[in-house]
């Protein structure tokens, strides 16, 4: 007979494969990549009891769909298909937030496109849970591709979603421009927030990441040996950036994960340990939680009744 096994029966076989083989066969074709696609669910952010999830659509599937989930009421909605799906789409990233009046939740989607000449452009569309539709933003934002990995972590503060934009140095030129991209969820406009004016030496070899620290915008500059914690005491006032403290430990700090309301920092150390760091005593406390640096995240969560009846939000 020698017919090939049809797709619907293929699933019967694939679910019986060991994980290692299943992942290897993602390279067979885009269809065989699908089982992995559904595995890589990533939390975009959480606010007002809603958790926004997206597929970690690494290069291959820019048309990733978003999910909004309320774990308390055990309901979720899958966002409709996005409208920007060009042939030259390269990668897409989702953001999630609520306006300052906390009445209007929106998802913002960046699509990076690469044309035949290798030129990158960014297109943006916004999904409103209230109108249940996508709307394209015309001439919204200009980003280079080097900026995209930083979009994986966002900070929502006072109705504005923030991402750290770090342009990659090109060639030997170590100059790079870093800033915080801000998206006002209510007005749907983009802006920039300036980073602190670093002392001489700049941020050339340091790793930057942004955080919410005591209801203010914070930035951590890590060199591997130490981490400087900065906070912007007055929103959008560059001069108000203040260095709170420097974290220096005997062990290597892989990642700063988050800041607790108490002001303590959550750190991912070598050997995959998660610890709480107290800046007063300079001591760490082991939490007994283990994970690779890229698997440890913290999101604020409060219960709410939103999405209790699904789409009628």
């Amino acid at each position: 007979m020698s017919n090939y096994v049809p797709t619907d029966l293929l699933i019967e076989i694939l679910v019986k494969l060991p994980v290692k083989s299943l992942i290897r066969f993602a390279a067979v074709s885009k269809l065989w990549f699908l089982p992995l696609k559904s595995i890589y669910l990533r939390i975009v952010d959480s606010c007002d009891g809603l958790v926004c999830l997206s597929n970690k659509s690494f290069m291959i599937f820019p048309q990733s769909r978003g999910v909004i989930w309320n774990p308390s009421v055990r309901n979720h909605v899958v966002l409709p298909d996005p409208t920007i799906n060009p042939k030259d789409a390269y990668i897409s990233v989702l953001g999630f937030g609520v306006d300052a009046g906390r009445t209007h939740h929106k998802v913002v989607r960046f699509v990076y496109c690469r044309n035949a000449a290798g030129i990158f452009t960014t297109r943006v569309e916004i999904f409103s849970l209230k109108t249940w539709s996508w709307r394209r933003l015309i001439g919204g934002v200009d980003l280079t591709l080097g900026a995209y990995p930083s979009l994986l972590r966002q900070v929502l503060l006072n109705g504005v979603v923030h991402w750290l934009i770090e342009e990659k140095p090109i060639g030997d030129n170590s100059f790079r421009r870093s800033y915080i991209l801000a998206f006002d969820v209510g007005d749907e406009v983009f802006g920039e927030v300036m980073l602190p004016e670093w002392e001489a030496g700049g941020s050339g070899f340091a790793k930057l990441s942004i955080f919410l620290i005591n209801e203010s915008l914070g930035v951590v500059k890590s060199t591997g040996e130490s981490c400087d914690v900065w906070v912007m005491k007055e929103y959008c006032v560059r001069e108000s950036w203040t260095k709170l403290y420097t974290i220096r430990l005997f062990e290597k700090i892989e990642n700063v994960v988050a800041f607790l309301n108490s002001g303590e920092a959550l750190l991912a150390l070598e050997n995959s340990r998660l610890v709480v760091y107290d800046s007063e005593t300079k001591h760490t406390k082991d939490l007994g939680i283990y994970g690779t640096p890229s698997s440890l995240y913290m999101y604020n969560y409060v219960e709410s009744l939103l999405l209790l009846r699904g789409r009628t939000y």
């Binding site: 293929l10 019986k16 290692k20 290897r24 067979v28 074709s29 690494f58």
Partner: protein, 163 residues
């Protein structure tokens, strides 16, 4: 009624290449497709099975007879299934998956798909494409990126011998 149990009913199955097979009804109704035909009274003459060829049907009937002869002992049934599938090559297994699906035999379907998964486990991406007739729709760059991201899964892969 006593007479019926004394002489077991025999069904005649016809493959899509016109081979005829006799099989005890008690064994044949392991297939939900055949059982439905019997219950609907459509099994009086020859039962045509348009999606199964003679070679595969012969194999499936061997399985039907073998497994139905084993009393309700899941351990023994499992070891029979393992032995039955142990010498089958990939093409035969692929044909059997299609037949098991068409005949609606969930126990055979499960066993054969598990066996195929076992055969595939250490095979290369190229082997899978050939055996499943899959066209590679990645660009070379995309394929390289997928392989690079999951590099560790390519350790211990058998070299292709197409067995």
């Amino acid at each position: 009624m006593a007479a019926e149990t004394g002489t077991p009913t025999t069904l005649t199955l016809k493959s899509n290449d016109d081979e005829l097979f006799s099989v005890a009804e008690s064994a044949a109704i392991l297939s939900v497709t055949i059982r439905n035909m019997v219950e609907d009274g459509c099994a009086g003459g020859v039962i045509p099975l348009d999606n199964v060829d003679g070679k595969t049907l012969a194999s499936v009937i061997t399985y039907m007879n073998g497994i139905s002869a084993i009393p309700a002992d899941e351990e023994k049934k499992k070891s029979y299934r393992d032995k039955f599938l142990s010498d089958k090559d990939f093409e035969t297994l692929a044909d059997m998956v299609l037949a098991a699906n068409y005949l609606n035999m969930s126990c055979l379907m499960d066993a054969v798909s598990a066996k195929i998964a076992q055969v595939m486990e250490k095979k290369s991406v190229g082997w899978v494409r050939r055996k499943f007739g899959i066209e590679n729709d990645y660009t070379p760059e995309e394929e390289a990126a997928v392989k690079e991201e999951h590099k560790w899964t390519f350790e211990g892969v058998e070299t292709d011998d197409d067995n």
